[in-house]
Symmetry: C2
Subunit: 196 residues, 2 copies
Protein backbone atom coordinates (compact mmCIF):
# COMPACT_ATOMS: atom_id res chain seq x y z
CA UNK A 1 0.00 0.00 0.00
CA UNK A 2 2.96 2.32 0.36
CA UNK A 3 3.84 2.10 -3.30
CA UNK A 4 0.72 3.60 -4.74
CA UNK A 5 1.14 6.18 -7.42
CA UNK A 6 -1.27 9.03 -7.14
CA UNK A 7 -0.90 10.09 -10.73
CA UNK A 8 1.97 9.88 -13.17
CA UNK A 9 4.89 11.18 -11.16
CA UNK A 10 6.97 8.52 -9.56
CA UNK A 11 7.85 9.77 -6.13
CA UNK A 12 4.66 9.02 -4.24
CA UNK A 13 3.82 11.95 -2.12
CA UNK A 14 3.70 10.87 1.49
CA UNK A 15 0.56 11.57 3.42
CA UNK A 16 0.44 15.06 4.74
CA UNK A 17 1.27 15.39 8.38
CA UNK A 18 -1.78 17.44 9.23
CA UNK A 19 -3.95 14.77 7.66
CA UNK A 20 -2.67 11.99 9.86
CA UNK A 21 -2.80 14.28 12.88
CA UNK A 22 -6.42 15.10 12.21
CA UNK A 23 -7.30 11.50 11.61
CA UNK A 24 -5.82 10.59 14.95
CA UNK A 25 -7.58 13.45 16.68
CA UNK A 26 -10.84 12.32 15.14
CA UNK A 27 -10.39 8.76 16.34
CA UNK A 28 -9.69 9.95 19.86
CA UNK A 29 -12.56 12.39 19.87
CA UNK A 30 -14.95 9.85 18.40
CA UNK A 31 -14.02 7.26 21.00
CA UNK A 32 -14.76 9.75 23.76
CA UNK A 33 -18.01 10.98 22.27
CA UNK A 34 -19.17 7.43 21.55
CA UNK A 35 -18.80 6.40 25.17
CA UNK A 36 -20.61 9.45 26.47
CA UNK A 37 -23.28 10.00 23.84
CA UNK A 38 -23.43 6.72 21.97
CA UNK A 39 -22.43 5.86 18.44
CA UNK A 40 -25.25 7.96 17.06
CA UNK A 41 -23.93 11.21 18.43
CA UNK A 42 -24.12 14.14 16.01
CA UNK A 43 -21.21 14.38 13.62
CA UNK A 44 -20.81 18.00 14.54
CA UNK A 45 -20.17 17.04 18.12
CA UNK A 46 -17.31 14.79 17.17
CA UNK A 47 -15.86 17.33 14.78
CA UNK A 48 -16.04 20.02 17.43
CA UNK A 49 -14.29 17.92 20.04
CA UNK A 50 -11.58 17.00 17.59
CA UNK A 51 -11.23 20.65 16.69
CA UNK A 52 -11.72 20.06 12.97
CA UNK A 53 -14.24 21.14 10.40
CA UNK A 54 -17.18 19.13 9.19
CA UNK A 55 -15.72 18.31 5.83
CA UNK A 56 -12.61 16.87 7.43
CA UNK A 57 -14.53 14.17 9.23
CA UNK A 58 -16.36 13.23 6.05
CA UNK A 59 -13.11 13.18 4.14
CA UNK A 60 -11.45 10.73 6.50
CA UNK A 61 -14.52 8.70 7.31
CA UNK A 62 -17.10 8.94 4.54
CA UNK A 63 -19.81 7.18 6.52
CA UNK A 64 -20.46 6.90 10.20
CA UNK A 65 -19.84 3.20 9.95
CA UNK A 66 -16.28 3.84 8.83
CA UNK A 67 -15.65 5.87 11.94
CA UNK A 68 -17.25 3.33 14.22
CA UNK A 69 -15.31 0.55 12.56
CA UNK A 70 -12.04 2.40 12.99
CA UNK A 71 -12.70 3.17 16.64
CA UNK A 72 -13.59 -0.39 17.60
CA UNK A 73 -11.33 -2.13 15.15
CA UNK A 74 -8.98 -3.54 17.75
CA UNK A 75 -11.74 -4.82 19.97
CA UNK A 76 -13.52 -6.49 17.12
CA UNK A 77 -10.32 -8.19 16.07
CA UNK A 78 -9.70 -9.28 19.64
CA UNK A 79 -13.15 -10.77 19.78
CA UNK A 80 -12.60 -12.61 16.55
CA UNK A 81 -9.27 -13.94 17.74
CA UNK A 82 -10.73 -15.09 21.02
CA UNK A 83 -12.88 -17.67 19.27
CA UNK A 84 -10.22 -20.18 18.29
CA UNK A 85 -8.35 -19.53 21.53
CA UNK A 86 -11.38 -20.40 23.63
CA UNK A 87 -12.05 -23.46 21.52
CA UNK A 88 -8.59 -24.65 22.41
CA UNK A 89 -8.74 -23.84 26.09
CA UNK A 90 -12.30 -24.62 27.11
CA UNK A 91 -13.45 -27.97 28.39
CA UNK A 92 -15.96 -28.55 25.65
CA UNK A 93 -16.89 -26.79 22.41
CA UNK A 94 -20.19 -25.71 23.91
CA UNK A 95 -18.36 -24.17 26.84
CA UNK A 96 -16.15 -22.33 24.39
CA UNK A 97 -19.21 -21.11 22.54
CA UNK A 98 -20.75 -19.87 25.76
CA UNK A 99 -17.63 -18.03 26.80
CA UNK A 100 -17.20 -16.47 23.41
CA UNK A 101 -20.79 -15.30 23.33
CA UNK A 102 -20.21 -13.77 26.73
CA UNK A 103 -17.27 -11.84 25.33
CA UNK A 104 -19.28 -10.68 22.39
CA UNK A 105 -22.18 -9.56 24.54
CA UNK A 106 -19.83 -7.70 26.84
CA UNK A 107 -18.44 -5.87 23.87
CA UNK A 108 -21.84 -4.95 22.47
CA UNK A 109 -23.36 -3.95 25.75
CA UNK A 110 -20.59 -1.59 26.78
CA UNK A 111 -20.82 0.41 23.56
CA UNK A 112 -23.93 2.47 23.84
CA UNK A 113 -26.16 2.05 20.85
CA UNK A 114 -23.77 -0.18 18.97
CA UNK A 115 -26.12 -3.14 18.91
CA UNK A 116 -28.87 -0.83 17.74
CA UNK A 117 -26.68 0.51 14.98
CA UNK A 118 -25.72 -2.97 13.85
CA UNK A 119 -29.29 -3.87 12.93
CA UNK A 120 -30.19 -0.42 11.74
CA UNK A 121 -31.48 -0.35 8.22
CA UNK A 122 -29.72 2.94 7.71
CA UNK A 123 -27.39 2.79 4.76
CA UNK A 124 -24.65 4.47 6.78
CA UNK A 125 -24.29 1.34 8.82
CA UNK A 126 -24.28 -1.18 6.01
CA UNK A 127 -20.49 -1.45 5.93
CA UNK A 128 -20.33 -1.82 9.71
CA UNK A 129 -22.74 -4.70 9.47
CA UNK A 130 -20.63 -6.19 6.73
CA UNK A 131 -17.44 -5.83 8.71
CA UNK A 132 -18.88 -7.53 11.76
CA UNK A 133 -20.14 -10.38 9.63
CA UNK A 134 -16.89 -10.69 7.78
CA UNK A 135 -14.86 -11.09 10.95
CA UNK A 136 -17.22 -12.82 13.29
CA UNK A 137 -19.21 -15.12 11.07
CA UNK A 138 -16.34 -17.57 10.47
CA UNK A 139 -15.62 -17.66 14.18
CA UNK A 140 -19.22 -18.39 15.02
CA UNK A 141 -19.34 -21.03 12.35
CA UNK A 142 -16.30 -22.79 13.73
CA UNK A 143 -17.62 -22.77 17.27
CA UNK A 144 -21.00 -24.05 16.15
CA UNK A 145 -19.48 -26.76 14.03
CA UNK A 146 -17.28 -27.95 16.84
CA UNK A 147 -20.21 -28.11 19.24
CA UNK A 148 -22.31 -29.97 16.71
CA UNK A 149 -19.53 -32.41 16.03
CA UNK A 150 -19.16 -33.02 19.73
CA UNK A 151 -22.84 -33.80 19.86
CA UNK A 152 -23.52 -31.02 22.31
CA UNK A 153 -25.96 -29.07 20.17
CA UNK A 154 -28.34 -29.93 17.41
CA UNK A 155 -27.22 -29.25 13.86
CA UNK A 156 -29.05 -26.88 11.54
CA UNK A 157 -28.43 -23.54 13.13
CA UNK A 158 -26.92 -20.99 10.80
CA UNK A 159 -24.07 -18.87 12.18
CA UNK A 160 -25.72 -15.73 10.87
CA UNK A 161 -28.89 -16.49 12.73
CA UNK A 162 -27.10 -16.91 16.01
CA UNK A 163 -24.96 -13.83 15.62
CA UNK A 164 -27.91 -11.76 14.62
CA UNK A 165 -30.06 -13.09 17.40
CA UNK A 166 -27.45 -12.21 19.97
CA UNK A 167 -27.03 -8.77 18.49
CA UNK A 168 -30.76 -8.19 18.43
CA UNK A 169 -31.20 -9.25 22.02
CA UNK A 170 -28.61 -6.70 23.06
CA UNK A 171 -30.53 -3.83 21.53
CA UNK A 172 -31.85 -1.16 23.78
CA UNK A 173 -30.19 -2.23 26.97
CA UNK A 174 -29.14 1.34 27.68
CA UNK A 175 -32.44 2.91 28.66
CA UNK A 176 -33.66 -0.03 30.70
CA UNK A 177 -31.20 -0.96 33.43
CA UNK A 178 -33.29 -3.91 34.56
CA UNK A 179 -33.14 -5.60 31.19
CA UNK A 180 -30.35 -8.12 31.02
CA UNK A 181 -29.89 -9.62 27.58
CA UNK A 182 -27.65 -12.32 29.01
CA UNK A 183 -30.56 -14.24 30.50
CA UNK A 184 -32.34 -14.39 27.17
CA UNK A 185 -29.16 -15.32 25.36
CA UNK A 186 -28.69 -18.08 27.85
CA UNK A 187 -32.16 -19.32 26.97
CA UNK A 188 -31.24 -19.19 23.32
CA UNK A 189 -28.11 -21.26 23.81
CA UNK A 190 -30.01 -23.65 26.00
CA UNK A 191 -32.48 -24.14 23.20
CA UNK A 192 -29.61 -25.10 20.97
CA UNK A 193 -28.59 -28.14 22.98
CA UNK A 194 -29.29 -31.55 21.62
CA UNK A 195 -32.04 -33.55 23.25
CA UNK A 196 -31.28 -36.07 25.95
Amino acid sequence: MAGEEPGRRMAARSKRSDAVRNQQALLTAAAEVFTTSGVNAPIRQIAARAGVGLATIYRHFPTRADLVTAVYHHQIEACADAGPALLASADTPLAALRQWVDLFVDFLVTKHGLADALQSDSASFATLHAYFLDRLLPVTARLLDAAVEAGEIRPGTQPYELLRGIGNLCIGRDDNPDYDPRRLIDLLLRGLRSEA
Copy 2:
Protein backbone atom coordinates in the same frame (compact mmCIF):
# COMPACT_ATOMS: atom_id res chain seq x y z
CA MET B 1 -59.09 32.30 38.77
CA ALA B 2 -62.69 33.43 38.71
CA GLY B 3 -62.85 32.80 34.98
CA GLU B 4 -65.22 30.13 33.89
CA GLU B 5 -63.73 26.89 32.92
CA PRO B 6 -64.18 26.23 29.27
CA GLY B 7 -66.93 23.81 28.58
CA ARG B 8 -68.05 23.57 32.18
CA ARG B 9 -70.78 26.12 32.14
CA MET B 10 -73.33 24.83 29.78
CA ALA B 11 -74.07 21.68 27.92
CA ALA B 12 -70.67 20.57 26.71
CA ARG B 13 -70.23 21.56 23.13
CA SER B 14 -70.13 18.48 20.93
CA LYS B 15 -66.97 17.88 18.96
CA ARG B 16 -66.81 19.72 15.73
CA SER B 17 -67.63 17.66 12.70
CA ASP B 18 -64.53 18.70 10.79
CA ALA B 19 -62.41 17.60 13.71
CA VAL B 20 -63.75 14.06 13.75
CA ARG B 21 -63.55 13.93 9.97
CA ASN B 22 -59.91 14.97 10.03
CA GLN B 23 -59.09 12.51 12.77
CA GLN B 24 -60.60 9.73 10.69
CA ALA B 25 -58.77 10.85 7.58
CA LEU B 26 -55.53 10.88 9.54
CA LEU B 27 -56.05 7.37 10.81
CA THR B 28 -56.71 6.11 7.31
CA ALA B 29 -53.78 7.97 5.83
CA ALA B 30 -51.46 6.85 8.59
CA ALA B 31 -52.44 3.23 8.15
CA GLU B 32 -51.64 3.44 4.46
CA VAL B 33 -48.37 5.27 4.90
CA PHE B 34 -47.29 2.94 7.69
CA THR B 35 -47.68 -0.11 5.49
CA THR B 36 -45.81 1.43 2.60
CA SER B 37 -43.12 3.45 4.37
CA GLY B 38 -43.06 2.03 7.87
CA VAL B 39 -44.08 3.56 11.14
CA ASN B 40 -41.21 6.04 10.97
CA ALA B 41 -42.48 7.74 7.85
CA PRO B 42 -42.24 11.54 7.89
CA ILE B 43 -45.13 13.27 9.57
CA ARG B 44 -45.46 15.53 6.58
CA GLN B 45 -46.12 12.56 4.37
CA ILE B 46 -49.03 11.44 6.51
CA ALA B 47 -50.41 14.94 6.77
CA ALA B 48 -50.19 15.39 3.02
CA ARG B 49 -51.96 12.14 2.26
CA ALA B 50 -54.69 13.00 4.72
CA GLY B 51 -54.96 16.43 3.17
CA VAL B 52 -54.51 18.27 6.43
CA GLY B 53 -51.98 20.70 7.83
CA LEU B 54 -49.09 19.82 10.08
CA ALA B 55 -50.57 21.30 13.20
CA THR B 56 -53.69 19.20 12.78
CA ILE B 57 -51.82 15.95 13.09
CA TYR B 58 -50.04 17.16 16.19
CA ARG B 59 -53.29 18.35 17.68
CA HIS B 60 -54.97 14.99 17.33
CA PHE B 61 -51.93 12.85 18.00
CA PRO B 62 -49.35 14.74 20.04
CA THR B 63 -46.68 12.06 19.64
CA ARG B 64 -46.04 9.54 16.94
CA ALA B 65 -46.73 6.81 19.44
CA ASP B 66 -50.28 8.08 19.85
CA LEU B 67 -50.87 7.74 16.14
CA VAL B 68 -49.33 4.30 15.97
CA THR B 69 -51.33 3.19 18.96
CA ALA B 70 -54.55 4.45 17.43
CA VAL B 71 -53.86 2.76 14.11
CA TYR B 72 -53.06 -0.64 15.56
CA HIS B 73 -55.36 -0.46 18.54
CA HIS B 74 -57.73 -3.13 17.35
CA GLN B 75 -55.03 -5.56 16.43
CA ILE B 76 -53.27 -5.14 19.73
CA GLU B 77 -56.50 -5.76 21.57
CA ALA B 78 -57.17 -8.81 19.44
CA CYS B 79 -53.72 -10.13 20.28
CA ALA B 80 -54.31 -9.57 23.95
CA ASP B 81 -57.70 -11.30 23.80
CA ALA B 82 -56.26 -14.25 21.94
CA GLY B 83 -54.15 -15.26 24.94
CA PRO B 84 -56.89 -16.57 27.22
CA ALA B 85 -58.74 -18.03 24.25
CA LEU B 86 -55.74 -20.06 23.17
CA LEU B 87 -55.13 -21.18 26.70
CA ALA B 88 -58.61 -22.63 26.72
CA SER B 89 -58.46 -24.25 23.31
CA ALA B 90 -54.91 -25.55 23.03
CA ASP B 91 -53.84 -29.01 24.08
CA THR B 92 -51.32 -27.80 26.63
CA PRO B 93 -50.35 -24.45 28.10
CA LEU B 94 -47.03 -24.57 26.29
CA ALA B 95 -48.83 -25.13 23.01
CA ALA B 96 -51.01 -22.14 23.79
CA LEU B 97 -47.91 -20.09 24.53
CA ARG B 98 -46.37 -21.12 21.25
CA GLN B 99 -49.45 -20.26 19.26
CA TRP B 100 -49.84 -16.95 20.97
CA VAL B 101 -46.21 -16.04 20.36
CA ASP B 102 -46.77 -16.92 16.72
CA LEU B 103 -49.66 -14.50 16.61
CA PHE B 104 -47.61 -11.79 18.24
CA VAL B 105 -44.70 -12.31 15.88
CA ASP B 106 -47.01 -12.21 12.89
CA PHE B 107 -48.35 -8.92 14.09
CA LEU B 108 -44.93 -7.39 14.67
CA VAL B 109 -43.40 -8.66 11.49
CA THR B 110 -46.10 -7.39 9.18
CA LYS B 111 -45.84 -3.84 10.49
CA HIS B 112 -42.67 -2.46 9.05
CA GLY B 113 -40.46 -0.98 11.66
CA LEU B 114 -42.89 -1.52 14.48
CA ALA B 115 -40.60 -3.83 16.42
CA ASP B 116 -37.80 -1.35 15.93
CA ALA B 117 -39.95 1.44 17.26
CA LEU B 118 -40.97 -0.57 20.28
CA GLN B 119 -37.42 -0.77 21.60
CA SER B 120 -36.44 2.64 20.42
CA ASP B 121 -35.15 4.86 23.16
CA SER B 122 -36.85 7.78 21.51
CA ALA B 123 -39.19 9.55 23.89
CA SER B 124 -41.88 9.68 21.21
CA PHE B 125 -42.32 5.95 21.54
CA ALA B 126 -42.39 5.70 25.31
CA THR B 127 -46.17 5.63 25.50
CA LEU B 128 -46.34 3.01 22.75
CA HIS B 129 -43.98 0.85 24.74
CA ALA B 130 -46.11 1.40 27.80
CA TYR B 131 -49.31 0.50 25.98
CA PHE B 132 -47.92 -2.74 24.66
CA LEU B 133 -46.69 -3.69 28.09
CA ASP B 134 -49.95 -2.74 29.71
CA ARG B 135 -52.00 -4.95 27.44
CA LEU B 136 -49.70 -7.84 26.70
CA LEU B 137 -47.74 -8.31 29.89
CA PRO B 138 -50.66 -9.80 31.83
CA VAL B 139 -51.40 -12.15 28.97
CA THR B 140 -47.82 -13.30 28.79
CA ALA B 141 -47.73 -13.76 32.52
CA ARG B 142 -50.82 -15.93 32.48
CA LEU B 143 -49.51 -18.11 29.68
CA LEU B 144 -46.15 -18.49 31.39
CA ASP B 145 -47.72 -19.30 34.73
CA ALA B 146 -49.95 -21.93 33.23
CA ALA B 147 -47.05 -23.58 31.44
CA VAL B 148 -44.98 -23.54 34.62
CA GLU B 149 -47.80 -24.99 36.63
CA ALA B 150 -48.22 -27.75 34.08
CA GLY B 151 -44.54 -28.51 34.50
CA GLU B 152 -43.81 -27.84 30.86
CA ILE B 153 -41.33 -25.02 31.35
CA ARG B 154 -38.95 -24.06 34.08
CA PRO B 155 -40.04 -21.32 36.44
CA GLY B 156 -38.14 -18.07 36.84
CA THR B 157 -38.70 -16.38 33.53
CA GLN B 158 -40.14 -12.91 33.77
CA PRO B 159 -42.95 -12.03 31.37
CA TYR B 160 -41.23 -8.79 30.48
CA GLU B 161 -38.08 -10.61 29.52
CA LEU B 162 -39.90 -12.92 27.17
CA LEU B 163 -41.97 -10.20 25.56
CA ARG B 164 -38.98 -8.02 25.11
CA GLY B 165 -36.86 -10.83 23.76
CA ILE B 166 -39.47 -11.67 21.16
CA GLY B 167 -39.82 -8.04 20.21
CA ASN B 168 -36.08 -7.63 19.93
CA LEU B 169 -35.68 -10.69 17.75
CA CYS B 170 -38.22 -9.26 15.34
CA ILE B 171 -36.24 -6.10 14.81
CA GLY B 172 -34.87 -5.40 11.39
CA ARG B 173 -36.56 -8.17 9.51
CA ASP B 174 -37.53 -5.77 6.74
CA ASP B 175 -34.20 -5.24 5.04
CA ASN B 176 -33.08 -8.85 5.25
CA PRO B 177 -35.59 -11.20 3.67
CA ASP B 178 -33.58 -14.26 4.60
CA TYR B 179 -33.73 -13.49 8.28
CA ASP B 180 -36.57 -15.31 9.96
CA PRO B 181 -37.05 -14.38 13.59
CA ARG B 182 -39.33 -17.34 14.11
CA ARG B 183 -36.49 -19.81 14.13
CA LEU B 184 -34.68 -17.93 16.87
CA ILE B 185 -37.85 -17.47 18.84
CA ASP B 186 -38.39 -21.19 18.58
CA LEU B 187 -34.95 -21.68 20.07
CA LEU B 188 -35.84 -19.30 22.85
CA LEU B 189 -39.03 -21.17 23.71
CA ARG B 190 -37.17 -24.44 23.47
CA GLY B 191 -34.71 -23.14 26.01
CA LEU B 192 -37.58 -22.46 28.33
CA ARG B 193 -38.67 -26.07 28.58
CA SER B 194 -38.05 -27.89 31.79
CA GLU B 195 -35.44 -30.60 31.74
CA ALA B 196 -36.91 -33.92 30.93
